[in-house]
């Protein structure tokens, strides 16, 4: 029994599903953010797992791109948390359902 590439992908899929579940089913704003981060991490993992199935240049690219994903995630977290603070100040609530300004 050796470590197979498919195991990594399965793990990534599981983490991604849990992340999406957290992001959509939880109503607390922080859990939504954390779910998104988790899903992003799972994508990174998938990226690296796949990069190891290629040789040479492609494998290099697959390992460089997650670096940039992490950096963009940092920017996203930065702005996202600022927005949370802003909304929290206006609404005095972290419940996303309270933020809904759309009236159907």
């Amino acid at each position: 029994m050796e470590l197979q590439a498919i195991y990594v992908q399965i793990l990534a899929l599981v983490l991604f599903s849990i992340g999406i579940l957290t992001a959509i089913s939880r109503r607390n704003m922080f859990f939504v953010l954390m779910g998104v981060e988790l899903a992003l991490n799972a994508v990174n993992l998938s990226f690296i797992g796949f990069s190891k199935t290629f040789a040479g240049d492609l494998s290099v690219a697959g390992q460089i791109v997650p670096l940039f994903t992490i950096a963009v995630a940092a920017a996203e977290a930065c702005v996202g948390l600022a927005m949370v603070i802003l909304i929290f100040r206006n609404q005095e609530s972290v419940d996303t359902d309270n933020y809904s300004g759309m009236k159907g």
């Binding site: 992908q9 983490l15 981060e37 991490n41 690296i48 290099v60 460089i64």
Partner: protein, 178 residues
């Protein structure tokens, strides 16, 4: 064989921590579980032969981003909000939908055979950083992307400060009133 054992251990920790995120009541617990999940993911990166990304994962994700999140959770004192239920009726729809998506993707993964390539480049710290910052003729030009990301981070920081400020020009108007 040993790699598989390590992988299983780390994967169990990661999934367990992720489930803790999903199920925990207080966001602070969720954030701490997320950090655990990310650290174990960093371990998996190292195991797969990309130690540099593992290091960056620990520093940026587990270190910086989650620290920021934890900090904000602690600053906003009513972050827990006991009135909000963990799961509600909508969640009943979400679970089957996500499970269906996961099943579909899993099916897609299984249906295509692929395996590790022995010639894959090991993303050691020295190699990755020299690729990233190679400014010579004929390089892949990642350093330009790196600069762009730097600008993006700077602008995100500026935007965050502008948004989180109490009110723009607040002190000025206060002075006028006095």
């Amino acid at each position: 064989m040993l790699a598989l054992v390590y992988f299983i251990i780390l994967a169990v920790i990661a999934v367990g921590a992720a489930l803790c995120v999903l199920l925990s009541k207080h966001p602070l617990y969720g954030a701490l579980s997320l950090i655990v999940s990310m650290l174990s993911l960093a371990g998996i990166y190292g195991l797969l032969g990309s130690p540099f990304i593992g290091v960056v994962q620990v520093m940026v994700y587990a270190g910086a981003i989650m620290m920021l999140l934890t900090f904000v959770i602690m600053v906003l004192n009513s972050a827990k909000d006991g009135n909000t239920p963990r799961f509600d009726k909508v969640s009943l729809f979400v679970f089957p939908a996500v499970i269906a998506l996961a099943g579909l993707l899993g099916f897609a993964l299984v249906s295509v055979p692929f395996g590790f390539n022995a010639e894959a480049v090991r993303g050691s710290v020295a190699f990755t950083s020299s690729t990233l910052f190679n400014v010579e003729e004929g390089s892949r030009g990642y350093f330009i992307l790196f600069e762009a990301i730097g600008v993006l981070l700077l602008s995100a920081m500026a935007a965050a400060i502008l948004m989180a400020k109490r009110r723009i020009g607040y002190t000025a108007s206060e002075k006028e009133e006095n």
